[in-house]
C-alpha cells in the first residue's frame, strides 16, 4: 500500500517536473509564444476562455465517443474474423493496411461530400482512425492463442463461436485493452481532424480558427484539452482493465504479503 502511494507520488512529481521543465526551457531559450507558448500561458488562456470553449469540448467529446464506440465494434468484429479465418486474413489485411497507410485528412473531404459538414464526417473519421489497432491486436491475439487452451474446449465438442468467446477473446483481452488505449487517442485525433476540415464546432474548429489567427496559446489550450480528454479516457479503461484482465498482470500482486 505504502509503496503504491509512494509510486504515485513519484510519477505525479515527474509529470509536474515535465511541465516545469517546459516552462523553464521556454524562458531560458526565450522561445516565442508564437511558436511554443509556456504552459502557464496556455493554462491562463484555458481558464480565461473556458466558458467559450466548453460547448466545443462537449461536441468533440460526444463525437469522439460515438466514433470510438463504433470503431471498437467494427474493430472487434473484423479482428475476430481475421484472427480466425485464413482467407479473411489474406483478403482483409492488405486492404486494411492499405487503407491505414492513407492519411485520413485525405478521406475527410470525401465524407464531407457525402454527408455534409458537421458531426457525421467527424464520427466516421474517428471510426476510421481508431478501428485498425483494435483489428490488429485482436487478430494477433487470436492467432497466437495456445492450441492447448483451445483443446480443452474442443474436446468438449465446442464450436468455433464457443472457442472464440471462451478462449480466444479472454486470452486476447490484455492486448485488446492495449489497443483500446491506442484507439481512444486516435479517435480524438480523427474527430479533431474532421472538425478542422469541415465543421463550425468542436476543438478542431477552435484550433483551426485560433491557428489561422495565430492565437498560438489558444491552439495549445486546445491541445491540452485533447490531451486531458485522452488521458481521462485512458484512466477509465485502465480501471476497467484492472478488473477484467487482472489475471494477466498478476506479477505485482504475486510477491507474498
Amino acid at each position: 500500500m505504502n509503496y503504491a502511494i509512494r509510486r504515485r507520488m513519484w510519477s505525479a512529481a515527474l509529470i509536474v517536473a515535465f511541465f516545469l521543465g517546459w516552462e523553464v526551457l521556454c524562458l531560458a531559450l526565450n522561445v516565442s509564444d508564437l511558436v511554443v507558448p509556456r504552459p502557464s500561458q496556455v493554462m491562463a488562456t484555458l481558464v480565461a476562455r473556458f466558458p467559450v470553449l466548453w460547448p466545443h469540448i462537449i461536441q468533440t467529446l460526444w463525437t469522439t465517443m460515438i466514433g470510438f464506440g463504433l470503431g471498437v465494434a467494427v474493430g472487434v468484429v473484423i479482428g475476430a474474423l481475421i484472427g480466425t479465418s485464413r482467407v479473411a486474413y489474406d483478403t482483409a489485411y492488405p486492404l486494411l493496411i492499405g487503407f491505414s497507410s492513407i492519411p485520413k485528412v485525405a478521406v475527410v473531404p470525401i465524407f464531407v461530400l457525402w454527408f455534409g459538414a458537421g458531426p457525421v464526417p467527424a464520427v466516421l473519421t474517428a471510426l476510421a482512425m481508431c478501428f485498425f489497432p483494435i483489428v490488429v491486436n485482436i487478430a494477433t491475439g487470436l492467432a497466437t492463442t495456445e492450441p492447448e487452451m483451445e483443446d480443452v474446449l474442443k474436446s468438449l465438442g465446442a464450436g468455433k463461436m464457443d472457442l472464440l468467446l471462451n478462449v480466444g477473446l479472454p486470452r486476447t483481452m490484455p492486448f485488446f485493452f492495449a489497443s483500446l488505449k491506442i484507439a481512444a487517442t486516435y479517435a480524438f485525433v480523427g474527430t479533431v481532424l474532421a472538425e478542422t476540415v469541415a465543421s463550425n464546432k468542436g476543438i478542431g474548429n477552435v484550433m483551426m480558427s485560433a491557428s489561422s489567427n495565430f492565437d498560438v496559446p489558444l491552439v495549445f489550450a486546445g491541445l491540452f484539452i485533447l490531451a486531458f480528454l485522452g488521458v481521462a479516457l485512458y484512466v477509465l479503461f485502465s480501471v476497467i482493465e484492472g478488473r477484467v484482465v487482472g489475471w494477466a498482470n498478476r506479477r505485482t500482486d504475486l510477491s507474498p504479503s
Partner: protein
C-alpha cells in the same frame, strides 16, 4: 481368480471406441516424426482401459486421437459411431499438464463443460449460480479443493491443479473419459483415495475410460484391461484383461495375484522399451 466377478465386468458389447490402423506422424520430409505406428484398438462400452508404456511412445497421442484433437495420418477412428468423439458422445478429458484457463477461477474452470456441453449449456445461465455451482463445489470437496473454488490457477500448487483438472473432466458425467496421468503429481495417499473415488464413479455410471498411467498398481486397481505400448514409434504390444473383483481395495494390491500381474506387465514393458532403453542407460 474370483469367478463371480464376471457379473460385474462389462457385459454389454457395443463398441465405444474403434481404432483401425490409426497412425500419426508429425512434420514433413526429414523432420518427420512417426508418433504412432498403425494401431488397432477396440473398446467396448463401459470398459476401463489402462494404457502404459515408456515416455514418448504415443499414449497422449492416442488419447488426442480418440478425443478428436489430432487427426490421424492414416487409418480411421470411430467413437460412438462417429468420427469426432465429442460430436457423438459426452467426452471428458484430463490433459497431461493441467491446462486450466488462467482467467477463470477454479470453480469457473471446472464449470466450463457445463457451459459448453449439451444438454447442460441450455440451462447454464439459469443454473450456474445454483445447481451447477453446488455440483462443482461438491466435486471439488471430493478432491480436497473446496476452499480453493474462488482461487485462480496460479494460486494453486501442482498437485492441486491436477486435481482441479480431473474435476473438469468429470463434472459433466461423460460417457467417455480420457485421462492422461491424472494422479501423477499426487502423493501416494491422496492418489489411493482418488483411485477409490474413481472406481466408485465408474461402478455407478459405467463410463468408457482410457487411463494413461505409469503406475502399474494404478492400472491394476482401476482397469478392466491393460494395454502396454512399445517405445516410440508406439504400437500396442500387450493387451491383458484384469479380472479382480470390484470394488477393489488397496489391500488387494498386495495379494499374490495382483503382484504376479504387475510382474508380468513389468517384463512386457522392459521388452517394450527395447532399443530406446539401451540408449537411455548412461
Amino acid at each position: 481368480m474370483n469367478p463371480d466377478l464376471a457379473q460385474i465386468a462389462p457385459e454389454r458389447k457395443r463398441p465405444a471406441v474403434q481404432l483401425s490402423r490409426a497412425s500419426v506422424a508429425f512434420g514433413q520430409g526429414a523432420e518427420r516424426v512417426q508418433a504412432l505406428q498403425p494401431t488397432d484398438l477396440h473398446l467396448d462400452e463401459g470398459e476401463f482401459l489402462a494404457l502404459v508404456g515408456p515416455s514418448g511412445c504415443g499414449k497422449s497421442t492416442i488419447l488426442k486421437l480418440v478425443g478428436g484433437l489430432t487427426r490421424p495420418s492414416g487409418g480411421e477412428i470411430i467413437v460412438g459411431g462417429r468420427e469426432v468423439a465429442a460430436r457423438a458422445l459426452r467426452v471428458g478429458m484430463a490433459f497431461q499438464n493441467p491446462t486450466l484457463l488462467p482467467w477463470l477461477t477454479i470453480e469457473q474452470n471446472v464449470m466450463l463443460p457445463l457451459k459448453i456441453v449439451r444438454p447442460f449449456r441450455q440451462d447454464y445461465a439459469r443454473k450456474k449460480r445454483g445447481e451447477y455451482r453446488d455440483r462443482v463445489h461438491a466435486l471439488l470437496a471430493d478432491v480436497g479443493l473446496e476452499k480453493f473454488a474462488g482461487h485462480y490457477p496460479w494460486q494453486l500448487s501442482g498437485g492441486m491443479l491436477q486435481r482441479a483438472n480431473l474435476c473438469r473432466a468429470l463434472i459433466h458425467e461423460p460417457s467417455l473419459l480420457l485421462l492422461d496421468e491424472p494422479f501423477g503429481a499426487l502423493d501416494q495417499f491422496t492418489r489411493e483415495e482418488l483411485w477409490g473415488t474413481m472406481q466408485d464413479l465408474w461402478i455407478k455410471r459405467r463410463p468408457t475410460v482410457i487411463l494413461v498411467t505409469h503406475d502399474l498398481k494404478e492400472a491394476g486397481f482401476l482397469g478392466t484391461r491393460i494395454c502396454v505400448m512399445s517405445a516410440r514409434p508406439g504400437r500396442i504390444i500387450d493387451d491383458s484383461p484384469v479380472t479382480f473383483p470390484r470394488p477393489r481395495t488397496v489391500e488387494m494390491t498386495f495379494q499374490p495375484d495382483f503382484v504376479a500381474l504387475n510382474q508380468r506387465l513389468r517384463e512386457r514393458i522392459i521388452d517394450a522399451r527395447g532399443e530406446s532403453a539401451r540408449k537411455v542407460a548412461s
